[in-house]
């Protein structure tokens, strides 16, 4: 299978952008200016990038506490993201949400939940609305292996299959829920893989391989868009940083240094760049330029965010209700 250069470059760009943004957040996190619990997705960039490469601006996503990657890959506004982390009025959620509650309706992102599993039925409901409105949009739901502990996933998938909704369930299996390994919580491969394919096509892919994610989700999006119903994709990946905060804040004792380093070697970005270089789909110089471009955008975003004003305390009560 060959891929258009544009697609490959887009995948790389998105992954690099997500990574650089995470690193930039991390590098400034100990300044104690971003007073919000960040959940970095370093190592998991291929999932968001690979899936969102198929989505149009007005397609929807549903995201979770570890949502910077989903937000950026879907085209969410970078400045508004960073401003949100700094608790500014110009943040995407006007400083009310913080890192775990991002939103960008223009990019089809209607808000992420920090309740594990909370976004799953919401994304399913969005799929139902799409169907009722006879639109060709799709709704993609990102959730972690921790969310797969929750019964609401079973209920939502049952409903999506029953009503043939245009929903793509993306299980981002990084093997941990905080410090709990999946083997302490679940009994094997997600039980949804065991469903007959005509009910719910499902697939396990290497979540650190952007093209594997891209391929599987391409089929799922196509299926959803043509009214054939939901799909389920499990992306096997790994959280390189600790559960929350930056590298220095991870605790030890719940996973081995080898495990982290093994997965570190399987960096989705490094391997993708190597492959592209080998196939002559990109040059070192182009990568370098991309990196510079990204870095300057990030610099701008941080400058913008840091000088922005925090919400006026008098507006504390605003927006509880829509008038």
């Amino acid at each position: 299978m060959t891929y258009p250069k544009k697609v490959l470059h887009k995948l790389l760009f998105d992954m690099m952008l997500i990574r650089r943004v995470q690193l930039a957040i991390e590098s400034r996190y100990m300044d104690n200016e971003m007073k919000t619990p960040v959940h970095l997705c370093i190592g998991q960039e291929a999932v968001a990038a690979g899936v969102c490469a198929h989505l149009k601006k007005n397609d929807y996503i549903s995201s979770n506490h570890r949502g910077h990657g989903h937000y950026l890959a879907k085209g969410g506004n970078l400045k508004a993201l960073i401003a949100e982390l700094y608790g500014r009025e110009t943040g995407c959620s006007k400083g009310r949400g913080g890192s775990m509650h991002l939103v960008d309706t223009g990019a089809g992102h209607y808000g992420s939940s920090s309740i594990v599993g909370g976004g799953i039925p919401i994304g399913t409901g969005i799929g139902m609305a799409i169907k009722m409105q006879r639109q060709k949009r799709v709704s993609t739901v990102f959730f972690g292996d921790g969310a797969a502990d929750e019964g609401v996933l079973y209920e939502s998938i049952n409903f999506a299959v029953l009503k043939k909704l245009p929903v793509i369930f993306i299980l981002e299996n990084n093997q941990y829920s905080v410090c709990s390994h999946i083997s302490a919580r679940q009994t094997g491969n997600s039980i949804f893989h065991a469903l007959p394919a005509k009910m719910l096509p499902s697939k396990i892919v290497d979540g650190n391989d952007a093209l594997a994610v891209y391929d599987a989700s391409g089929k799922a999006v196509e299926r959803a868009r043509t009214g054939k119903g939901p799909s389920f994709i499990e992306c096997r990946t790994y959280r390189i940083r600790g559960h929350a905060g930056c590298a220095s804040q991870d605790v030890s004792g719940y996973r081995t240094a080898e495990e982290i380093s093994q997965w570190g070697k399987r960096c989705p970005i490094t391997s993708f760049q190597k492959m592209l270089l080998k196939k002559k789909m990109i040059t070192e110089n182009e990568i370098h330029k991309t990196e510079k471009k990204i870095n300057s955008r990030i610099q701008d975003a941080f400058d913008y965010a840091r000088q922005a004003a925090p919400p006026a305390p008098e507006t504390l009560s605003a927006n509880l209700f829509r008038e």
């Binding site: 006007k94 960008d104 309706t105 909370g118 409901g125 409105q133 609401v152 939502s156 605003a318 509880l320």
Partner: protein, 346 residues
């Protein structure tokens, strides 16, 4: 018991109803049904879902046969899955629809608390107003015939505590329709808690569309001696009790808050300013419930008016027992309110 066939319908008492010159009498279930019908006719975004909305019971009549008129795409049965389906309503609302989600009983909302409280109620605020969730959830308190502890809970005391939810409790046929229409019109999550006893009543209901304003209570009966704030079907009980004691020279003012959140504080305070006495009658539990909030509100903002201790009439702090005679001991009603009226003016 479950059958509505041989139900005896009772006409609402002759209290103030805002019905203008309307002389049209229909049943309470029909009033709700009419609201749904009008809303669905006027707005393609409105749809109805819930376990059994399209079955022969039709949610005690409130949704009966609507699927025949609007099709099963807009009026549909659901899996029980109360947790997910609430989130599905949230999602549908975010994406431009107007879900109305029916439950037989508030007890089942306890399976949906995460989506109601953590999600629906917070979504607008948490995202700085970028998004909002116009959805209606409706549930009907069971009572009697041994419904027992898990099928008779009046949980308004829980939901009254949640910022971001609006909470309506109609008591008349007129308001059942007008509040449903207001709820569907509202851009925010609205919970309607209804009561099975209301379903046995008939009342004056204009045929066209109208809304009852959310956040505005109403004086059902003016009086000078004591203010009684009563919730849902207890408005009727309080009204009858007021008539009972009128002959003894006690004139009770009956206030129907209609919406518990937002609560019409001014109306209550103005009444207590006049009467100096307050009884609160609620069909939920006493501790930490509706009577607590309204009592504390008056002790905080209307203290100077009070001539006597407030009185709180509510269900005892117990699960509902099944046996008929225990049920009778459990529920508050007209007699309790009458006694309280007499006691408080002493």
């Amino acid at each position: 018991m479950l059958t509505s066939e041989n139900k005896i319908m009772i006409h609402e008492p002759d209290f103030f109803r805002e019905c203008g010159a309307c002389k049209r009498v229909i049943g309470y279930p029909e009033a709700i049904r009419e609201a749904l019908q009008l809303a669905m006719q006027n707005d393609r975004r409105v749809f109805i879902m819930g376990q059994g909305v399209d079955d022969p019971y039709g949610m005690f009549g409130a949704t009966k046969d609507l699927h025949r008129e609007f099709g099963r795409e807009r009026v549909f049965d659901t899996p029980l899955s109360e947790g997910a389906l609430t989130g599905i309503s949230v999602g549908a609302a975010l994406a431009g629809m107007r879900p109305v989600y029916f439950h037989n009983r508030p007890d089942f909302l306890l399976l949906a608390m995460d989506q109601l409280v953590n999600h629906a109620a917070k979504w607008s605020y948490m995202f700085g107003g970028a998004v909002h969730v116009p959805m209606v959830v409706w549930a009907c308190i069971g009572r009697g015939w041994g419904s027992a502890a898990q099928h008779s809970q009046a949980l308004q005391g829980l939901f009254m505590h949640i910022p971001g939810l609006k909470l309506l409790m109609p008591s008349t046929c007129h308001d059942a329709k007008g509040l449903m229409l207001a709820a569907i019109d509202d851009e925010n999550p609205v919970l309607i808690i209804d009561h099975r006893l209301n379903f046995n009543t008939t009342g004056l209901v204009p045929s066209g569309p109208y809304t009852v304003p959310i956040g505005r209570g109403i004086v059902r009966r003016p009086g000078r001696d004591v203010t009684v704030v009563a919730v849902s079907h207890l408005v009727t009980d309080a009204f009858h009790a007021a008539q009972d004691v009128s002959s003894q020279g006690i004139e009770a003012e009956i206030i129907d808050p209609r919406t518990l959140r937002p609560l019409d504080e001014e109306l209550i305070l103005a009444s207590v300013a006049k009467t100096g006495r307050l009884i609160i009658a609620d069909c939920g539990w006493k501790t930490g419930g509706v009577t607590a909030e309204i009592g504390a509100l008056v002790a905080e903002k209307g203290f100077a008016y009070l001539k006597a201790p407030i009185m709180r009439l509510a269900s005892p702090d117990l699960p509902t027992p099944a046996a008929g005679n225990l049920e009778e001991a459990f529920y508050v009603g007209r007699n309790d309110i009458r006694k309280a009226m007499i006691e408080i003016v002493r």
